[in-house]
Protein backbone atom coordinates (compact mmCIF):
# COMPACT_ATOMS: atom_id res chain seq x y z
CA UNK A 1 0.00 0.00 0.00
CA UNK A 2 1.23 3.44 -0.72
CA UNK A 3 1.87 5.89 2.05
CA UNK A 4 -0.14 8.65 0.46
CA UNK A 5 -3.32 6.64 0.70
CA UNK A 6 -3.25 6.28 4.44
CA UNK A 7 -6.07 8.20 6.11
CA UNK A 8 -5.01 11.32 7.91
CA UNK A 9 -4.84 10.77 11.63
CA UNK A 10 -7.03 13.66 12.60
CA UNK A 11 -6.70 13.33 16.39
CA UNK A 12 -3.03 14.33 16.16
CA UNK A 13 -4.11 17.93 15.73
CA UNK A 14 -6.64 17.38 18.48
CA UNK A 15 -3.82 16.25 20.72
CA UNK A 16 -1.89 19.44 20.10
CA UNK A 17 -5.03 21.36 21.01
CA UNK A 18 -5.21 19.31 24.18
CA UNK A 19 -1.89 20.60 25.47
CA UNK A 20 -2.76 24.17 24.59
CA UNK A 21 -6.16 23.91 26.22
CA UNK A 22 -4.68 22.31 29.34
CA UNK A 23 -2.15 25.14 29.61
CA UNK A 24 -4.98 27.67 29.74
CA UNK A 25 -6.19 26.22 33.05
CA UNK A 26 -4.73 27.83 36.16
CA UNK A 27 -4.10 24.52 37.92
CA UNK A 28 -2.00 23.29 35.01
CA UNK A 29 0.10 26.46 35.16
CA UNK A 30 0.63 26.21 38.93
CA UNK A 31 1.39 22.50 38.68
CA UNK A 32 3.79 22.99 35.80
CA UNK A 33 5.59 25.75 37.72
CA UNK A 34 5.97 23.60 40.83
CA UNK A 35 7.09 20.55 38.86
CA UNK A 36 9.62 22.50 36.81
CA UNK A 37 11.00 24.25 39.90
CA UNK A 38 11.52 20.99 41.78
CA UNK A 39 12.98 19.08 38.84
CA UNK A 40 15.35 22.02 38.34
CA UNK A 41 16.20 22.00 42.04
CA UNK A 42 16.89 18.27 41.99
CA UNK A 43 19.03 18.42 38.85
CA UNK A 44 21.13 21.58 39.27
CA UNK A 45 20.69 22.07 43.01
CA UNK A 46 23.78 20.01 43.90
CA UNK A 47 25.94 22.58 42.05
CA UNK A 48 24.95 25.22 44.61
CA UNK A 49 25.46 23.06 47.69
CA UNK A 50 27.70 24.91 50.17
CA UNK A 51 29.08 21.70 51.68
CA UNK A 52 29.55 18.05 50.80
CA UNK A 53 26.36 16.02 51.26
CA UNK A 54 28.14 13.53 53.51
CA UNK A 55 30.63 15.76 55.34
CA UNK A 56 30.23 16.85 58.97
CA UNK A 57 29.85 20.57 59.63
CA UNK A 58 28.70 20.79 63.25
CA UNK A 59 27.01 19.19 66.23
CA UNK A 60 23.99 16.97 65.48
CA UNK A 61 20.64 18.79 65.18
CA UNK A 62 22.13 22.23 65.70
CA UNK A 63 20.04 25.19 64.66
CA UNK A 64 20.51 27.47 61.64
CA UNK A 65 23.85 29.25 61.44
CA UNK A 66 25.71 31.29 58.83
CA UNK A 67 27.51 28.23 57.46
CA UNK A 68 24.48 25.93 57.65
CA UNK A 69 21.38 28.07 56.99
CA UNK A 70 18.97 25.22 57.73
CA UNK A 71 20.95 23.64 60.54
CA UNK A 72 22.49 20.18 60.74
CA UNK A 73 21.01 16.70 60.67
CA UNK A 74 21.11 13.69 62.96
CA UNK A 75 24.85 13.17 62.40
CA UNK A 76 25.82 16.84 62.09
CA UNK A 77 25.77 17.07 58.29
CA UNK A 78 24.55 20.20 56.47
CA UNK A 79 20.77 19.95 55.91
CA UNK A 80 20.74 22.33 52.92
CA UNK A 81 23.48 20.46 51.05
CA UNK A 82 21.81 17.10 51.66
CA UNK A 83 18.46 18.56 50.63
CA UNK A 84 19.88 19.91 47.36
CA UNK A 85 21.48 16.55 46.67
CA UNK A 86 18.56 14.35 47.68
CA UNK A 87 16.05 14.60 44.83
CA UNK A 88 17.90 13.18 41.88
CA UNK A 89 17.67 9.47 42.68
CA UNK A 90 13.96 9.67 43.57
CA UNK A 91 13.23 11.44 40.27
CA UNK A 92 15.39 9.10 38.20
CA UNK A 93 13.94 5.91 39.69
CA UNK A 94 10.34 7.15 39.66
CA UNK A 95 10.64 8.35 36.07
CA UNK A 96 12.35 5.22 34.73
CA UNK A 97 9.99 2.90 36.59
CA UNK A 98 6.90 4.78 35.43
CA UNK A 99 8.10 4.89 31.81
CA UNK A 100 8.80 1.14 31.87
CA UNK A 101 5.49 0.32 33.50
CA UNK A 102 3.54 2.52 31.08
CA UNK A 103 5.37 1.00 28.09
CA UNK A 104 4.74 -2.57 29.25
CA UNK A 105 1.14 -1.80 30.18
CA UNK A 106 0.53 -0.09 26.83
CA UNK A 107 1.95 -3.04 24.89
CA UNK A 108 -0.12 -5.51 26.90
CA UNK A 109 -3.26 -3.36 26.71
CA UNK A 110 -2.94 -2.87 22.94
CA UNK A 111 -2.42 -6.58 22.34
CA UNK A 112 -5.30 -7.59 24.62
CA UNK A 113 -7.71 -4.95 23.39
CA UNK A 114 -7.05 -5.71 19.75
CA UNK A 115 -7.12 -9.49 19.88
CA UNK A 116 -10.36 -11.21 20.78
CA UNK A 117 -8.77 -14.40 21.93
CA UNK A 118 -8.03 -16.40 25.03
CA UNK A 119 -4.82 -14.39 25.46
CA UNK A 120 -6.98 -11.44 26.41
CA UNK A 121 -8.89 -13.48 28.98
CA UNK A 122 -5.81 -14.96 30.62
CA UNK A 123 -3.88 -11.68 30.67
CA UNK A 124 -6.82 -9.81 32.19
CA UNK A 125 -7.22 -12.46 34.92
CA UNK A 126 -3.54 -11.92 35.78
CA UNK A 127 -4.14 -8.17 35.83
CA UNK A 128 -7.06 -8.78 38.20
CA UNK A 129 -4.72 -10.78 40.40
CA UNK A 130 -2.21 -7.92 40.60
CA UNK A 131 -4.99 -5.45 41.34
CA UNK A 132 -6.55 -7.65 44.03
CA UNK A 133 -4.20 -6.44 46.74
CA UNK A 134 -2.32 -3.22 47.51
CA UNK A 135 0.78 -2.56 45.41
CA UNK A 136 3.01 -2.01 48.43
CA UNK A 137 2.56 -5.63 49.52
CA UNK A 138 3.93 -6.82 46.18
CA UNK A 139 6.71 -4.24 46.46
CA UNK A 140 7.74 -5.47 49.90
CA UNK A 141 7.72 -9.10 48.72
CA UNK A 142 9.96 -8.24 45.75
CA UNK A 143 12.30 -6.19 47.94
CA UNK A 144 12.68 -9.13 50.33
CA UNK A 145 13.84 -11.26 47.45
CA UNK A 146 15.83 -8.80 45.39
CA UNK A 147 17.23 -6.62 48.14
CA UNK A 148 17.31 -2.82 48.11
CA UNK A 149 18.84 -2.14 44.72
CA UNK A 150 17.91 0.50 42.18
CA UNK A 151 16.81 -1.96 39.49
CA UNK A 152 14.58 -3.79 41.96
CA UNK A 153 12.93 -0.48 42.89
CA UNK A 154 12.45 0.38 39.20
CA UNK A 155 10.94 -3.07 38.61
CA UNK A 156 8.67 -2.69 41.62
CA UNK A 157 7.30 0.62 40.33
CA UNK A 158 6.89 -0.70 36.78
CA UNK A 159 5.18 -3.91 37.85
CA UNK A 160 2.77 -2.30 40.28
CA UNK A 161 1.47 0.24 37.72
CA UNK A 162 1.54 -1.98 34.65
CA UNK A 163 -1.86 -3.65 35.27
CA UNK A 164 -3.68 -0.31 35.68
CA UNK A 165 -2.22 1.06 32.43
CA UNK A 166 -3.03 -2.21 30.67
CA UNK A 167 -6.67 -1.85 31.76
CA UNK A 168 -6.96 1.74 30.52
CA UNK A 169 -5.23 1.07 27.19
CA UNK A 170 -7.21 -2.13 26.63
CA UNK A 171 -10.57 -0.45 27.01
CA UNK A 172 -9.55 2.51 24.79
CA UNK A 173 -8.24 0.08 22.18
CA UNK A 174 -11.46 -1.94 22.24
CA UNK A 175 -13.40 1.22 21.47
CA UNK A 176 -11.23 1.94 18.44
CA UNK A 177 -10.97 -1.66 17.21
CA UNK A 178 -13.99 -1.41 14.91
CA UNK A 179 -13.61 2.21 13.83
CA UNK A 180 -13.43 3.03 10.15
CA UNK A 181 -9.76 3.93 9.95
CA UNK A 182 -8.73 0.67 11.63
CA UNK A 183 -10.99 -1.37 9.35
CA UNK A 184 -9.54 0.51 6.37
CA UNK A 185 -6.01 -0.25 7.46
CA UNK A 186 -6.92 -3.90 7.95
CA UNK A 187 -8.51 -4.15 4.51
CA UNK A 188 -5.46 -2.65 2.81
CA UNK A 189 -3.30 -5.30 4.43
CA UNK A 190 -1.43 -3.08 6.88
CA UNK A 191 0.66 -5.23 9.22
CA UNK A 192 -0.93 -5.61 12.65
CA UNK A 193 2.02 -4.05 14.45
CA UNK A 194 1.69 -0.99 12.27
CA UNK A 195 -2.04 -0.73 12.93
CA UNK A 196 -1.41 -0.92 16.67
CA UNK A 197 1.40 1.61 16.85
CA UNK A 198 0.59 4.01 14.01
CA UNK A 199 -3.20 3.95 13.89
CA UNK A 200 -4.43 3.14 17.38
CA UNK A 201 -1.64 4.45 19.60
CA UNK A 202 -1.79 8.10 18.43
CA UNK A 203 -5.53 8.06 19.09
CA UNK A 204 -5.20 7.06 22.72
CA UNK A 205 -2.50 9.65 23.45
CA UNK A 206 -4.88 11.66 25.64
CA UNK A 207 -5.79 8.95 28.18
CA UNK A 208 -2.19 7.70 28.03
CA UNK A 209 -0.79 11.13 28.99
CA UNK A 210 -3.20 11.33 31.91
CA UNK A 211 -2.24 7.79 32.93
CA UNK A 212 1.47 8.66 32.81
CA UNK A 213 1.02 11.74 34.98
CA UNK A 214 -1.09 9.88 37.54
CA UNK A 215 1.41 7.04 37.81
CA UNK A 216 4.41 9.38 37.91
CA UNK A 217 2.97 11.26 40.89
CA UNK A 218 2.16 7.96 42.56
CA UNK A 219 5.59 6.48 41.97
CA UNK A 220 7.32 9.57 43.37
CA UNK A 221 5.32 8.92 46.54
CA UNK A 222 6.04 5.20 46.46
CA UNK A 223 9.80 5.58 46.01
CA UNK A 224 10.04 8.31 48.66
CA UNK A 225 7.99 6.06 50.95
CA UNK A 226 10.23 3.06 50.41
CA UNK A 227 13.26 5.30 51.02
CA UNK A 228 11.59 6.42 54.24
CA UNK A 229 11.03 2.80 55.30
CA UNK A 230 14.76 2.21 54.80
CA UNK A 231 14.11 -0.09 51.84
CA UNK A 232 15.31 2.25 49.09
CA UNK A 233 18.34 4.53 49.21
CA UNK A 234 20.88 3.37 51.77
CA UNK A 235 22.95 5.55 54.13
CA UNK A 236 25.05 7.64 53.79
CA UNK A 237 23.24 8.62 50.56
CA UNK A 238 21.40 11.94 50.61
CA UNK A 239 17.76 11.24 49.75
CA UNK A 240 14.56 13.11 50.62
CA UNK A 241 12.70 10.04 51.88
CA UNK A 242 15.65 8.73 53.87
CA UNK A 243 16.31 12.22 55.31
CA UNK A 244 12.83 12.30 56.85
CA UNK A 245 13.40 8.93 58.51
CA UNK A 246 16.90 9.81 59.78
CA UNK A 247 15.87 13.15 61.23
CA UNK A 248 12.39 12.36 62.53
CA UNK A 249 13.76 12.03 66.08
CA UNK A 250 15.09 15.60 65.86
CA UNK A 251 11.80 17.07 64.68
CA UNK A 252 11.57 19.26 67.76
CA UNK A 253 15.08 20.72 67.80
CA UNK A 254 15.82 20.80 64.06
CA UNK A 255 12.48 20.82 62.22
CA UNK A 256 13.97 22.01 58.90
CA UNK A 257 15.85 18.73 58.46
CA UNK A 258 12.44 17.01 58.17
CA UNK A 259 10.27 19.79 56.73
CA UNK A 260 12.47 20.65 53.73
CA UNK A 261 12.40 17.15 52.18
CA UNK A 262 8.70 16.69 53.02
CA UNK A 263 7.76 19.99 51.39
CA UNK A 264 9.80 19.05 48.32
CA UNK A 265 8.21 15.60 47.96
CA UNK A 266 4.71 17.00 48.54
CA UNK A 267 5.18 19.92 46.11
CA UNK A 268 6.57 17.64 43.42
CA UNK A 269 3.78 15.07 43.75
CA UNK A 270 1.05 17.74 43.94
CA UNK A 271 2.58 19.61 40.99
CA UNK A 272 2.57 16.54 38.75
CA UNK A 273 -0.99 15.75 39.87
CA UNK A 274 -2.19 19.29 39.08
CA UNK A 275 -0.75 19.12 35.56
CA UNK A 276 -2.35 15.70 35.06
CA UNK A 277 -5.67 16.97 36.34
CA UNK A 278 -5.48 19.92 33.96
CA UNK A 279 -4.81 17.63 31.00
CA UNK A 280 -7.64 15.32 32.07
CA UNK A 281 -10.05 18.26 32.31
CA UNK A 282 -8.97 19.66 28.97
CA UNK A 283 -9.32 16.24 27.36
CA UNK A 284 -12.82 15.79 28.79
CA UNK A 285 -13.74 19.28 27.54
CA UNK A 286 -12.41 18.60 24.06
CA UNK A 287 -14.21 15.26 23.89
CA UNK A 288 -17.42 16.99 24.89
CA UNK A 289 -17.18 19.62 22.19
CA UNK A 290 -16.31 16.97 19.61
CA UNK A 291 -19.26 14.83 20.60
CA UNK A 292 -21.71 17.70 20.56
Amino acid sequence: MSRGMRPVVAPLTRHRGLVRQALMLRRTQIGLGATAALIGLALIGPLFAPHSATGFVGAPFSGPSSSAPFGTDTLGRDVLSRFLDGGRTILAIAFTGTALGIAAGTALGLACGYSRRVVDDIAMRLVDLLMAFPGIVLALLLLTIGGTQDWVLIGVVALSFMPYTARVVRSSTMQLRDSDFVLYAQSTGTPTRRILFQEILPNIAGPLTVEFGLRLAQSIGTIAGLDYLGLGAQPPAADWGLMVQENQSGLMSAPWSVLLPIIAIAALAIGVNLVTDGIAQASAGIDRTLDA
Binding site: V137, A266, A269
Partner: protein, 319 residues
Amino acid sequence: MLKAILLRRLVGGIFILWLVSVLVFAAIHLLPGNAATILVGRSDTTPQEVASLTRQLGLDQPLIAQYGRWIKGLVTGNWGTSLVSSLQVSYIVRTRLENSGALTLISMLMLSPLAVIIGTVSAIRRNRAVDHVTSLVTLCLSAVPAFAIGVMVIYLFATNVVHWLPAASILNPDEPVWSQLNLVIAPAITVALAMIPYPIRMVRATMIEVLESDYVMLARLKGVPERRVIFRHALRNGLGPIIQSLALTLLFLSGGIIVVETVFSYPGVGYALVQGVSQRDIPVVQSIVVLLATFCVVINLAADLAVAFVTPRLRTALR
Protein backbone atom coordinates in the same frame (compact mmCIF):
# COMPACT_ATOMS: atom_id res chain seq x y z
CA MET B 1 -28.70 -16.12 39.00
CA LEU B 2 -27.24 -13.91 41.69
CA LYS B 3 -26.23 -16.94 43.74
CA ALA B 4 -24.35 -18.20 40.71
CA ILE B 5 -22.49 -14.88 40.45
CA LEU B 6 -21.58 -14.90 44.13
CA LEU B 7 -20.46 -18.52 43.86
CA ARG B 8 -18.27 -17.65 40.90
CA ARG B 9 -16.76 -14.77 42.89
CA LEU B 10 -16.03 -17.18 45.74
CA VAL B 11 -14.29 -19.64 43.44
CA GLY B 12 -12.40 -16.74 41.85
CA GLY B 13 -11.30 -15.55 45.29
CA ILE B 14 -10.00 -18.98 46.24
CA PHE B 15 -8.19 -19.19 42.91
CA ILE B 16 -6.52 -15.82 43.55
CA LEU B 17 -5.42 -16.97 47.01
CA TRP B 18 -3.95 -20.13 45.53
CA LEU B 19 -2.04 -18.05 42.94
CA VAL B 20 -0.78 -15.72 45.68
CA SER B 21 0.44 -18.67 47.72
CA VAL B 22 2.29 -20.07 44.70
CA LEU B 23 3.76 -16.62 43.97
CA VAL B 24 4.90 -16.08 47.57
CA PHE B 25 6.32 -19.59 47.76
CA ALA B 26 8.01 -19.45 44.36
CA ALA B 27 9.41 -15.99 45.03
CA ILE B 28 11.51 -17.30 47.87
CA HIS B 29 12.57 -20.47 46.10
CA LEU B 30 13.42 -18.85 42.79
CA LEU B 31 16.28 -17.09 44.53
CA PRO B 32 19.46 -17.91 42.70
CA GLY B 33 21.58 -20.36 44.64
CA ASN B 34 20.66 -21.81 47.97
CA ALA B 35 18.11 -19.64 49.76
CA ALA B 36 19.74 -20.42 53.08
CA THR B 37 23.04 -18.85 52.00
CA ILE B 38 21.27 -15.65 51.05
CA LEU B 39 19.16 -15.68 54.18
CA VAL B 40 22.12 -15.87 56.49
CA GLY B 41 23.37 -13.11 54.26
CA ARG B 42 26.74 -12.43 55.87
CA SER B 43 30.13 -13.12 54.39
CA ASP B 44 31.40 -14.88 57.53
CA THR B 45 28.82 -17.68 57.31
CA THR B 46 30.16 -21.14 58.07
CA PRO B 47 28.99 -24.07 55.91
CA GLN B 48 27.58 -25.63 59.10
CA GLU B 49 25.29 -22.64 59.65
CA VAL B 50 24.03 -22.85 56.08
CA ALA B 51 23.47 -26.60 56.37
CA SER B 52 21.53 -26.30 59.60
CA LEU B 53 19.35 -23.49 58.21
CA THR B 54 18.79 -25.54 55.06
CA ARG B 55 17.51 -28.38 57.22
CA GLN B 56 15.48 -26.07 59.42
CA LEU B 57 13.70 -24.58 56.40
CA GLY B 58 13.32 -27.98 54.75
CA LEU B 59 15.15 -26.69 51.68
CA ASP B 60 16.74 -30.10 51.07
CA GLN B 61 13.37 -31.64 50.17
CA PRO B 62 11.68 -31.64 46.75
CA LEU B 63 9.83 -28.39 45.90
CA ILE B 64 6.35 -29.94 45.80
CA ALA B 65 6.84 -31.47 49.23
CA GLN B 66 8.09 -28.13 50.57
CA TYR B 67 5.06 -26.34 49.12
CA GLY B 68 2.69 -28.94 50.56
CA ARG B 69 4.30 -28.67 53.97
CA TRP B 70 4.15 -24.87 53.86
CA ILE B 71 0.46 -24.78 52.87
CA LYS B 72 -0.39 -27.36 55.52
CA GLY B 73 1.40 -25.20 58.07
CA LEU B 74 -0.42 -22.04 56.91
CA VAL B 75 -3.81 -23.73 57.26
CA THR B 76 -3.10 -25.40 60.61
CA GLY B 77 -1.59 -22.26 62.11
CA ASN B 78 2.01 -23.48 62.11
CA TRP B 79 3.61 -20.53 60.29
CA GLY B 80 7.20 -21.37 61.06
CA THR B 81 9.77 -19.61 63.21
CA SER B 82 11.13 -16.09 62.78
CA LEU B 83 14.74 -16.19 61.58
CA VAL B 84 15.58 -13.13 63.67
CA SER B 85 13.80 -13.47 67.01
CA SER B 86 13.29 -17.27 67.04
CA LEU B 87 9.67 -16.63 68.04
CA GLN B 88 6.78 -18.49 66.43
CA VAL B 89 5.50 -16.38 63.51
CA SER B 90 1.92 -17.17 64.52
CA TYR B 91 2.67 -15.72 67.98
CA ILE B 92 4.17 -12.52 66.49
CA VAL B 93 1.19 -12.05 64.18
CA ARG B 94 -1.42 -12.89 66.81
CA THR B 95 -0.12 -10.32 69.30
CA ARG B 96 -0.10 -7.60 66.62
CA LEU B 97 -3.28 -8.44 64.76
CA GLU B 98 -5.51 -6.88 67.41
CA ASN B 99 -3.49 -3.64 67.33
CA SER B 100 -3.80 -3.39 63.55
CA GLY B 101 -7.49 -4.23 63.81
CA ALA B 102 -8.03 -1.39 66.27
CA LEU B 103 -6.18 1.06 64.02
CA THR B 104 -8.14 -0.06 60.95
CA LEU B 105 -11.48 0.11 62.75
CA ILE B 106 -10.90 3.57 64.23
CA SER B 107 -9.61 4.97 60.92
CA MET B 108 -12.64 3.62 59.08
CA LEU B 109 -14.98 5.02 61.75
CA MET B 110 -13.33 8.43 61.26
CA LEU B 111 -13.24 8.51 57.49
CA SER B 112 -16.49 6.80 56.39
CA PRO B 113 -19.03 9.33 57.73
CA LEU B 114 -16.73 12.22 56.77
CA ALA B 115 -16.35 10.91 53.22
CA VAL B 116 -20.11 10.44 52.81
CA ILE B 117 -20.89 13.91 54.18
CA ILE B 118 -18.19 15.76 52.23
CA GLY B 119 -18.89 13.83 49.03
CA THR B 120 -22.64 14.47 49.28
CA VAL B 121 -22.22 18.17 50.05
CA SER B 122 -19.82 18.53 47.09
CA ALA B 123 -22.36 16.81 44.86
CA ILE B 124 -25.21 19.07 46.00
CA ARG B 125 -23.06 22.21 45.75
CA ARG B 126 -21.48 21.08 42.52
CA ASN B 127 -19.11 23.60 40.90
CA ARG B 128 -19.53 26.00 43.81
CA ALA B 129 -16.77 27.10 46.17
CA VAL B 130 -17.21 24.14 48.56
CA ASP B 131 -16.84 21.70 45.69
CA HIS B 132 -13.72 23.40 44.31
CA VAL B 133 -12.03 23.53 47.71
CA THR B 134 -12.87 19.86 48.32
CA SER B 135 -11.51 18.82 44.95
CA LEU B 136 -8.28 20.74 45.53
CA VAL B 137 -7.79 19.34 49.04
CA THR B 138 -8.47 15.75 47.96
CA LEU B 139 -6.09 16.18 45.04
CA CYS B 140 -3.33 17.33 47.40
CA LEU B 141 -4.04 14.62 49.99
CA SER B 142 -4.00 11.92 47.35
CA ALA B 143 -0.68 13.14 45.96
CA VAL B 144 1.23 13.42 49.24
CA PRO B 145 2.58 10.03 50.37
CA ALA B 146 1.22 8.60 53.63
CA PHE B 147 4.52 8.83 55.50
CA ALA B 148 4.72 12.56 54.80
CA ILE B 149 1.16 13.07 56.08
CA GLY B 150 2.11 11.08 59.21
CA VAL B 151 5.20 13.16 59.92
CA MET B 152 3.19 16.36 59.37
CA VAL B 153 0.58 15.09 61.87
CA ILE B 154 3.40 14.55 64.36
CA TYR B 155 4.80 18.02 63.61
CA LEU B 156 1.44 19.76 63.97
CA PHE B 157 -0.20 17.82 66.82
CA ALA B 158 2.62 16.24 68.81
CA THR B 159 5.97 17.98 68.78
CA ASN B 160 6.11 21.49 67.38
CA VAL B 161 2.81 23.33 67.06
CA VAL B 162 0.53 21.87 69.73
CA HIS B 163 1.21 18.96 72.06
CA TRP B 164 -2.10 17.15 72.07
CA LEU B 165 -0.99 13.74 70.86
CA PRO B 166 1.99 11.45 71.53
CA ALA B 167 4.66 11.47 68.79
CA ALA B 168 5.09 7.70 68.87
CA SER B 169 2.59 4.96 69.65
CA ILE B 170 4.58 2.63 71.88
CA LEU B 171 1.79 0.44 73.24
CA ASN B 172 2.10 -1.37 76.54
CA PRO B 173 2.09 -5.02 75.40
CA ASP B 174 0.56 -6.23 78.69
CA GLU B 175 -2.62 -4.22 78.27
CA PRO B 176 -5.25 -4.54 75.54
CA VAL B 177 -5.04 -1.85 72.87
CA TRP B 178 -8.62 -0.79 73.68
CA SER B 179 -7.48 0.60 77.04
CA GLN B 180 -4.79 2.78 75.44
CA LEU B 181 -6.72 4.32 72.59
CA ASN B 182 -5.02 7.70 73.08
CA LEU B 183 -2.01 6.14 71.36
CA VAL B 184 -4.13 5.07 68.38
CA ILE B 185 -5.55 8.51 67.55
CA ALA B 186 -2.55 10.04 65.75
CA PRO B 187 -1.92 7.07 63.41
CA ALA B 188 -5.68 6.76 62.84
CA ILE B 189 -5.93 10.44 61.82
CA THR B 190 -3.03 9.88 59.41
CA VAL B 191 -4.60 6.78 57.86
CA ALA B 192 -7.95 8.58 57.56
CA LEU B 193 -6.37 11.63 55.86
CA ALA B 194 -4.34 9.49 53.47
CA MET B 195 -7.25 7.26 52.48
CA ILE B 196 -10.16 9.73 52.33
CA PRO B 197 -9.70 11.22 48.81
CA TYR B 198 -10.89 8.11 46.96
CA PRO B 199 -14.20 7.59 48.84
CA ILE B 200 -14.97 11.35 48.69
CA ARG B 201 -14.61 11.32 44.90
CA MET B 202 -16.67 8.14 44.56
CA VAL B 203 -19.47 9.41 46.83
CA ARG B 204 -19.53 12.70 44.91
CA ALA B 205 -19.73 10.96 41.53
CA THR B 206 -22.43 8.56 42.75
CA MET B 207 -24.52 11.31 44.29
CA ILE B 208 -24.29 13.51 41.18
CA GLU B 209 -25.55 10.63 39.09
CA VAL B 210 -28.36 9.82 41.52
CA LEU B 211 -29.41 13.46 41.95
CA GLU B 212 -29.80 13.78 38.19
CA SER B 213 -31.89 10.60 37.91
CA ASP B 214 -35.56 10.50 36.94
CA TYR B 215 -36.90 9.42 40.32
CA VAL B 216 -35.16 12.26 42.16
CA MET B 217 -36.52 14.66 39.57
CA LEU B 218 -39.99 13.16 40.06
CA ALA B 219 -39.74 13.44 43.85
CA ARG B 220 -38.81 17.10 43.49
CA LEU B 221 -41.67 17.69 41.08
CA LYS B 222 -44.07 16.09 43.55
CA GLY B 223 -42.93 18.70 46.05
CA VAL B 224 -41.05 16.39 48.41
CA PRO B 225 -38.86 18.55 50.67
CA GLU B 226 -35.23 18.73 49.50
CA ARG B 227 -33.88 17.27 52.76
CA ARG B 228 -36.13 14.25 52.31
CA VAL B 229 -35.16 13.92 48.65
CA ILE B 230 -31.50 13.72 49.59
CA PHE B 231 -31.83 11.35 52.55
CA ARG B 232 -34.71 9.13 51.44
CA HIS B 233 -34.35 8.99 47.70
CA ALA B 234 -30.81 9.88 46.70
CA LEU B 235 -28.61 8.55 49.53
CA ARG B 236 -30.51 5.29 49.81
CA ASN B 237 -30.17 4.58 46.12
CA GLY B 238 -26.52 5.52 46.12
CA LEU B 239 -25.80 3.20 49.01
CA GLY B 240 -24.58 0.29 46.86
CA PRO B 241 -21.76 2.14 45.08
CA ILE B 242 -20.89 3.99 48.31
CA ILE B 243 -20.46 0.71 50.20
CA GLN B 244 -18.38 -0.64 47.36
CA SER B 245 -16.10 2.40 47.41
CA LEU B 246 -15.68 2.11 51.20
CA ALA B 247 -14.78 -1.57 50.78
CA LEU B 248 -12.14 -0.62 48.23
CA THR B 249 -10.90 2.03 50.65
CA LEU B 250 -10.54 -0.66 53.30
CA LEU B 251 -8.53 -2.67 50.79
CA PHE B 252 -6.15 0.24 50.04
CA LEU B 253 -6.04 0.95 53.76
CA SER B 254 -4.50 -2.46 54.43
CA GLY B 255 -1.56 -1.23 52.34
CA GLY B 256 -1.58 2.24 53.89
CA ILE B 257 -1.28 1.06 57.49
CA ILE B 258 2.00 -0.69 56.62
CA VAL B 259 3.67 2.70 56.20
CA VAL B 260 1.70 4.59 58.86
CA GLU B 261 2.38 1.98 61.56
CA THR B 262 6.08 2.35 60.81
CA VAL B 263 5.92 6.17 61.08
CA PHE B 264 4.48 5.91 64.60
CA SER B 265 6.37 2.71 65.62
CA TYR B 266 2.88 1.29 66.16
CA PRO B 267 3.20 -2.42 66.99
CA GLY B 268 0.90 -3.78 64.29
CA VAL B 269 1.14 -6.32 61.50
CA GLY B 270 2.32 -3.70 59.00
CA TYR B 271 5.26 -2.61 61.14
CA ALA B 272 6.14 -6.30 61.63
CA LEU B 273 6.11 -6.73 57.84
CA VAL B 274 8.43 -3.76 57.26
CA GLN B 275 10.82 -5.02 59.94
CA GLY B 276 10.62 -8.49 58.41
CA VAL B 277 11.51 -7.11 54.98
CA SER B 278 14.47 -5.06 56.18
CA GLN B 279 15.81 -8.03 58.18
CA ARG B 280 14.91 -10.45 55.38
CA ASP B 281 12.95 -12.53 57.85
CA ILE B 282 11.34 -14.70 55.19
CA PRO B 283 8.82 -16.72 57.26
CA VAL B 284 7.42 -13.49 58.75
CA VAL B 285 7.15 -11.79 55.34
CA GLN B 286 5.55 -14.85 53.72
CA SER B 287 2.92 -15.24 56.42
CA ILE B 288 1.95 -11.57 56.59
CA VAL B 289 1.74 -11.23 52.79
CA VAL B 290 -0.57 -14.26 52.59
CA LEU B 291 -2.58 -12.88 55.52
CA LEU B 292 -3.03 -9.47 53.83
CA ALA B 293 -3.97 -11.12 50.53
CA THR B 294 -6.59 -13.23 52.33
CA PHE B 295 -7.94 -10.09 53.99
CA CYS B 296 -8.29 -8.39 50.59
CA VAL B 297 -10.07 -11.37 49.01
CA VAL B 298 -12.48 -11.60 51.95
CA ILE B 299 -13.20 -7.85 51.78
CA ASN B 300 -13.95 -8.10 48.07
CA LEU B 301 -16.40 -10.96 48.68
CA ALA B 302 -18.02 -9.22 51.63
CA ALA B 303 -18.46 -6.07 49.55
CA ASP B 304 -20.23 -8.05 46.81
CA LEU B 305 -22.56 -9.56 49.41
CA ALA B 306 -23.25 -6.23 51.11
CA VAL B 307 -24.06 -4.55 47.80
CA ALA B 308 -26.44 -7.41 46.97
CA PHE B 309 -28.23 -6.88 50.27
CA VAL B 310 -28.68 -3.11 50.10
CA THR B 311 -29.73 -2.99 46.46
CA PRO B 312 -33.48 -3.78 46.42
CA ARG B 313 -33.44 -5.31 42.94
CA LEU B 314 -30.61 -7.67 43.79
CA ARG B 315 -32.01 -8.52 47.23
CA THR B 316 -35.19 -9.97 45.78
CA ALA B 317 -33.17 -11.96 43.27
CA LEU B 318 -31.23 -13.55 46.14
CA ARG B 319 -34.34 -15.01 47.76
